[in-house]
Symmetry: C2
């Protein structure tokens, strides 16, 4: 272990950003492999490890220092250790990591649900070193051969923080995202992240799957299939991803997904009743309820048409009160603002996203 | 009225295709205007009429003979009269049409639900002259100024037939679609059409609307909005069309939409229960049920990747038994085959679509 780390309680109000020169990525699949290549491209020292190692020669030629075992990689004392394995592997890896990890190393991950990982990390006694993260990037492929350094172009990340989260470790993860991956992030707690992910991704995947199920069971399936056009294609595209992967994704966030599915079921049943009873008042409300979202989207389209694709909203500088950073950055996220750059521990550049 | 029409009971087995040189389009909005321009481009005599006439100069320059009144247009004795007004206007127009229409003229329409129009036509005493039609084309705009002759490029039409449908009138509509609009069609009865349209379009529009309603009411709306990416965008695109138009579309096909919404609600509620109870058997079934559709789509993608975008399946020639044409063409549709060309009253060229 090296002793030159800068993370110490005493300097948490220093105006210097914490050291970040090396990162280790456990799991070099689509996301881990893409992140490792991206960070290596941008000059970080990147260690990598994966259970399957047949692609190591290609990974090495992308600038990744491939390690024979997880333990070897952890013992290299990276500033950041990123877990990018499937979620179900994490409980087995954490005790092995804990045994070898320098307490100065910051542990993070890129899993698509955050409460479950947080519980695993707490159980393994690593909560003090941990800051969760989730990049909004991906496609329907998998494995290192599908990964690439540009998969994360323009990705927005969520960094998840808990009461125990250390600010300097948070800054390290934020620096990796902004300074090295050239991405942006919002800061949320794990429960809010999982609620939001269920709403925008996990539940819609289940709904899309339910739609193609209706076609398969339909007595007019082939006629419907022939006549299907844009709206059907859009709404069923995500149902074409591997059903095993979708099932796993939903099972990892069961409470939030289940609760939203119930609300959707109630809403569709009420709409059905309103159609049966010609309940015009209900129908009007159902179709008008989403107008705040529609108007925001229509406004985005108008701006796109007026100013073109590359209009970037203005950035502004936010001064961070380091004694209240979690509340402050949480409120920034609730206002649909992201952090695009960390200028110092007390100054960040933020950007406005479309909002309701 | 002219007396040179060729539709007579006596020659229904003739090998000559029925006369088709002129068409009249009532309602020159997005669909009617696009069809009128397309048919005029391709050499038909096209009459047009609309309630609002401010765009007539532009329509005339597109080759449409614009008429001051519906009655004037009907009295021009077109071979085909196409109703392309909003559905809710049809009940008022039909008696006016009936008063002036040459019995030789074939009446058709382009409405997005077919049972309702069929009932209106029967009520108006025009069923003997009528063959329903519905082109799968459109976008989120409306009005003549949004119309264009290429809106219907590659469109597939449904022609709807009933027990009373006359074969030569059917051939006229089929000729308009294939020979003049350069499109294809399938043949179905009105109930099957409305069931299929509810499945692939009307119900999914309602589901998409229910999705954006969930975001508007979410306590984490702005975080979710910021983090939303491809799957959310795809599944909510159709919810961005005018809610009034979506409401009208669903109200025009209430039974089929209501029934599918109930099935969707049951399915989502069962899935929610299965997540709560970790009912792995149910979850496996839910995610595997759509595999026949997935496999068909994956195969399409594979062919696209292998042979490129423009791979056209082979056509084959179908011999029509004119005493059994409805069953024969209905079975062609159920096998996901479309008619691409009418060679003679007893020979059609058909094409295979992807199927289950």
């Amino acid at each position: 272990m090296t002793g030159d780390k800068t993370i110490e309680g005493g300097d948490s109000c220093s105006e210097q950003l914490p050291q970040l020169t090396s990162v280790a990525v456990a799991g070099l699949g689509l996301i881990g492999g893409s992140l490792a290549q991206r960070l290596a491209c941008r000059g970080m020292t990147v260690y990598g490890w994966d259970l399957s190692q047949d692609f190591y020669p290609q990974a090495v030629s992308s600038g990744i220092r491939c390690m024979p075992s997880l333990e070897d990689m952890v013992r290299a004392d990276p500033d950041l250790l990123v877990i990018a394995t499937p979620l179900k592997a994490i409980d087995d890896l954490l005790p092995r990591i804990k045994k070898e990890m320098n307490p100065q190393t910051t542990l993070t991950d890129v899993g698509s649900v955050k409460q479950q990982v947080l519980h695993s990390v707490e159980k393994a006694g690593l909560a003090d070193s941990y800051v969760g993260a989730h990049p909004m990037a991906g496609n329907e492929q998998e494995g290192f051969y599908a990964s690439s350094s540009d998969l994360m172009d323009n990705a927005l990340w969520a960094i998840t923080v808990a009461d125990s989260t250390d600010y300097r470790r948070f800054l390290q993860v934020g620096q990796m995202i902004t300074a090295y991956a050239s991405n942006e992030f919002i800061t949320v707690d794990a429960a809010i992240h999982d609620q939001a992910a269920a709403l925008i991704s996990h539940m819609p995947h289940a709904v899309s799957t339910a739609l193609i199920n209706r076609m398969v069971e339909s007595p007019v399936a082939n006629v419907a299939y022939s006549l299907s056009a844009g709206s059907w294609r859009d709404m069923t595209r995500v149902a074409l991803t591997s059903p095993e992967r979708t099932k796993a994704m939903i099972e990892e966030n069961p409470q939030e997904v289940s609760s939203l599915l119930k609300t959707m079921a109630d809403s569709l049943r009420d709409l059905s009743r309103a159609l049966d009873q010609k309940d015009n008042r209900y129908l009007d409300q159902f179709f008008a309820f989403g107008n705040p979202y529609r108007q925001s989207q229509w406004e985005q389209r108008r701006l796109m048409n007026q100013f073109g694709q590359r209009t970037e909203p203005e950035h502004r500088t936010l001064t961070i009160d380091q004694s209240d950073w979690k509340n402050q950055l949480g409120s920034v996220s609730r206002n649909a603002q992201s952090v695009v750059s960390i200028l110092s521990p007390s100054q960040m550049e933020i950007k406005q996203y479309p909002h309701l």
